[in-house]
């Protein structure tokens, strides 16, 4: 079946929905999503969305920009970071006007709380004075992402946006540098649908599921990012993957930084507040990459708490906050601790461990979400990307907490605006062949191949080894082993035989297509990590433990190898405006 639209947005999380709201009514717009929109992963964001509103204390957007640049370990593009932080107050106020419910200050303004890595100079007249934590994260209890997602979905209902829910993206059609549409399967029937349009936006989210312990939903398999790579286009900075320091032990379910923003403290087996050693000024509110490394370092030094199964964790102590703060400001995450670990956070510490959380890398775009086709700044006509799947890059080597919700509303809107401008003159270009051919081949191959491999077995091995060899600490030996393993998984993939050969809601087949996507994503993370011989932000090489600005102050672009195997790497400079790189201490 062929559908004709002006614009097709793939993904119905915050970025996709915000872009959809922005498309003027005179243009036809479809949003395709693997899940019903409110099931999208934006809904699991908890602690807040940052903007220098100064509702609780003096602040300004330059403080926010400085923190974001420093948090990115100077790999973030400063021009885009300035755009995002300057636009943040407007973007958050706009959400309020759309109906998003926020926690409030006594004056009735949007309430704000502290968050990791968000600071301001202690002396407002001296920008070089010691920096202290600042209340910048705007929040709605600890359900900020949930109410944001629902508010944006509701505004899409208001604007009569057309949804194709439970449609699974299988192909991106780019011919002669022009993006002409996408192909997707209706999951409930397996029918192939071609979407022929003038503009495509990917807002397809992240890929935390390549790791064993992750806060990411099962749907976070990086389908959009992988399709870009499979289409012969480059991906940017894939080696930078953030581990959130506080996932529930063994489960990886997110415990928001808001827990520490409200005063929670990390303690090792001796009961010591170890972050005082690693980040003397902001302590537990250091950025995520540093706290995650600190946790693993404590465990490696023998100061982890030994769990019932012999694995180690660290304690997150909230007991001193009191029941009132816990119930009012952290109800959701303390509920998770009770449900899943049987721990009562008002009385005992919550066992945590770092959890794979956020992809800083992704589809390279400019600050208007237009997708780059190479390292020289050329664009793919009619193709846009926003949100976690994109790499603008505003997060560089490490994202600050709350900047992801900000990223999706700022760049979702900018993308929508840019698309609207493009549509004024754009034309729908004819396909050169049958665009559904590749999808049909891919599906029929998976359904008909035989062998004794199972999707779930290969996926589990991939996830466990990515955790071990390509996680928080990395080195050449293990990365090379991982590279070899991925090659083997790709071979074994051809011997997977499915049990479900039907056409109705065949999730067996869908998971198998997702696995192919995950294998490609893992390949780019691993090769990028092996190639980058320095430590920066979330990428920590034990064999190259210093940041190396002379050689590595640049973005990685990675392509699928020309002969269909391996990868090709090139680089792109980091955009600098006013912030000079310095040593990253907190």
């Amino acid at each position: 079946m062929i559908h004709t639209f002006d614009v097709v947005i793939v993904g119905a999380g915050g970025a996709g929905l915000r872009a959809a709201v922005e498309i003027p009514k005179e243009y036809s717009c479809a949003v395709i999503s693997k899940v019903f929109p409110t099931r999208s992963h934006t809904g699991t964001a908890q602690g807040g969305v940052c903007a220098a509103l100064s509702n609780e204390e003096d602040d300004n957007w330059l403080n926010h920009a400085f923190d974001t640049v420093k948090g990115s370990d100077y790999l973030g593009d400063q021009d885009s970071i300035e755009i995002m932080c300057q636009d943040a107050p407007r973007a958050v106020i706009e959400l309020e006007h759309m109906g998003m419910p926020f926690s409030r200050t006594p004056e009735g303004k949007i309430a704000q709380r502290k968050f990791g890595g968000h600071t301001k100079p202690e002396d407002p007249n001296d920008p070089n004075s010691k920096r202290v934590a600042v209340k910048r994260a705007c929040y709605s209890a600890d359900r900020t992402g949930h109410v944001m997602l629902h508010t944006l979905y509701e505004n899409c209902i208001k604007n009569h946006v057309q949804f194709f829910s439970e449609y699974f993206l299988t192909d991106l059609i780019v011919e002669d540098g022009i993006c002409k549409g996408v192909v997707a399967l209706d999951i409930s029937t397996s029918e192939v649908h071609i979407f022929h349009c003038k503009a495509v936006m990917f807002a397809t989210g992240g890929y935390g599921r390549v790791y064993r312990i992750t806060s990411n939903a099962h749907v976070g398999t990086g389908d959009g990012v992988a399709l870009v790579y499979q289409s012969g286009l480059p991906l940017e900075d894939m080696e930078f993957f953030q581990f959130h320091p506080t996932g529930l032990w063994k489960l990886g379910i997110l415990v928001s930084e808001a827990a520490r923003g409200e005063g929670g403290i990390l303690r090792n087996a001796n009961g010591d507040r170890f972050m005082e050693v690693y980040a003397p000024t902001v302590k537990d509110l250091a950025p995520r990459d540093m706290v995650s490394r600190a946790i693993i370092s404590e465990i490696r030094a023998g100061r982890g708490v030994k769990g019932s199964d012999g694995t180690f964790y660290i304690n997150l102590d909230l007991t001193h906050l009191g029941k009132k703060i816990i119930d009012e400001k952290l109800p959701e995450i303390t509920g998770f601790a009770r449900t899943y670990l049987g721990v009562e956070p008002t009385k005992e510490s919550v066992p945590i461990q770092p959890t794979a959380h956020y992809a800083m890398g992704g589809i390279p775009t400019n600050s208007d979400t237009e997708v780059y086709s190479d390292s020289k700044g050329n664009l793919v006509k009619g193709f846009y990307a926003a949100g976690e799947c994109a790499c603008v890059s505003v997060h560089g080597a490490n994202r600050l907490g709350t900047n992801s919700l900000l990223d999706i509303i700022v760049f979702g809107r900018r993308g929508g605006k840019k698309i609207a401008e493009y549509l004024k003159t754009a034309e729908r270009t004819a396909f050169t062949g049958d665009p559904s051919e590749k999808t049909k081949e891919k599906i029929s191959k998976i359904l008909n191949q035989s062998g004794n491999e199972r999707t779930s077995v290969i996926r589990r091995e991939l996830q466990e080894n990515m955790m071990e060899k390509c996680g928080i600490f990395r080195n050449e030996k293990e990365l090379k082993e991982m590279k070899e393993l991925i090659k083997q998984y790709k071979e074994r993939y051809n011997n997977i035989s499915l049990q479900d050969k039907g056409t109705v809601f065949n999730t067996d087949m869908m998971e198998t297509v997702e696995l192919a996507n995950m294998l490609d994503i893992a390949e780019t993370i691993c090769d990028g990590a092996l190639n980058r011989t320095e430590s920066r932000g979330a990428h920590t090489r034990e064999d190259f433990d210093k940041r190396d600005d002379a050689n590595w102050m640049k973005h990685t672009l990675i392509w699928k190898g020309k002969d269909g195997s391996g990868t090709t790497i090139d680089y792109k400079p980091v955009a600098k405006t006013r912030f000079e790189p310095m040593e990253r201490k907190y």
Binding site: V35, T44, S103, R104, I110, S188, A217, G502, D508
Partner: protein, 235 residues
């Protein structure tokens, strides 16, 4: 520990009607029912279909009937149910089955849309700031805004079972979310929509919705506030 599940299966391509199939797995008290379904799907029977995403009770994808009660599979741990007996898993009632535990929820979503589920305020907002709202007024919305649209409440309601046109507790809760928002101006329009025989008056305060809600929302209380508002309006 060995745990046995009896799962309702239905594949419209093969089956004329739904039937149960049994699976036994090695479980542990801390495993969720979703973990168990994954274990069955990934190790025994890849043809089993169900929806899931976040796996910790936020996305609302995996509502199903577990031992006769509507719950989220990801929010139900084995230690909280009787594992000495066979555990029965069925799709939630009152919605057409697409396959196995996957339901066609389009009617549920359409009812959610019918209550005008978005803020309406025709006065321009302040040019440079938020609309003010007291924290108390904001918190009046928080419980209703917790709703994850899992449909556990609506499909557990006897009024829904006996009348497919009933709006159901989830859409009434959504109506509350906006009627009681101090920033909203369309309360009357929404009250008109729910003030119908198949609307709010079909709620006979049976409380099944509260028992079923995985987010522990006191749905009946919220509906009672709407009823009160309607009766105040008549005065």
């Amino acid at each position: 520990m060995q745990v046995t599940f009896k799962i309702l299966r239905y594949n419209p391509e093969k089956d004329s009607e739904p039937h149960f199939e049994e699976y036994t797995i090695e479980g542990a008290p801390t495993m969720t029912v979703l973990d168990c379904l994954h274990k069955i799907k990934w190790e025994q029977d890849g043809t089993l279909s169900f929806r899931r995403s976040c796996a910790h009770g936020v996305c609302g994808s995996d509502g199903m009937k577990i031992n006769g009660r509507n719950r989220l599979a990801c929010g139900t741990l084995l230690k909280d149910i009787n594992t000495n007996k066979v555990i029965t898993i069925e799709p939630m009632p009152s919605m057409p089955i697409i396959k196995d535990l996957v339901l066609d929820m389009s009617d549920f979503y359409a009812k959610n849309k019918s209550v005008i589920p978005y803020l309406i305020n025709n006065n321009p907002p302040p040019a440079d700031g938020e609309r003010l709202q007291s924290n108390e007024d904001a918190e009046m919305l928080f419980e209703s805004a917790k709703c994850i649209l899992c449909a556990c409440c609506t499909t557990s309601c006897p009024s829904t079972w006996s009348n497919e046109n009933y709006m159901g507790p989830a859409s009434l809760l959504k109506a509350y979310r906006f009627v009681f928002d101090t920033r909203d101006e369309a309360a009357d329009e929404r009250l008109d929509i729910i003030d119908t025989p198949d609307g709010i008056w079909r709620c006979h305060t049976i409380f099944n919705c509260i028992e079923a809600c995985p987010k522990e929302i006191n749905i009946t209380w919220h509906i009672s506030q709407l009823k009160k508002k309607l009766s105040d309006r008549e005065l």
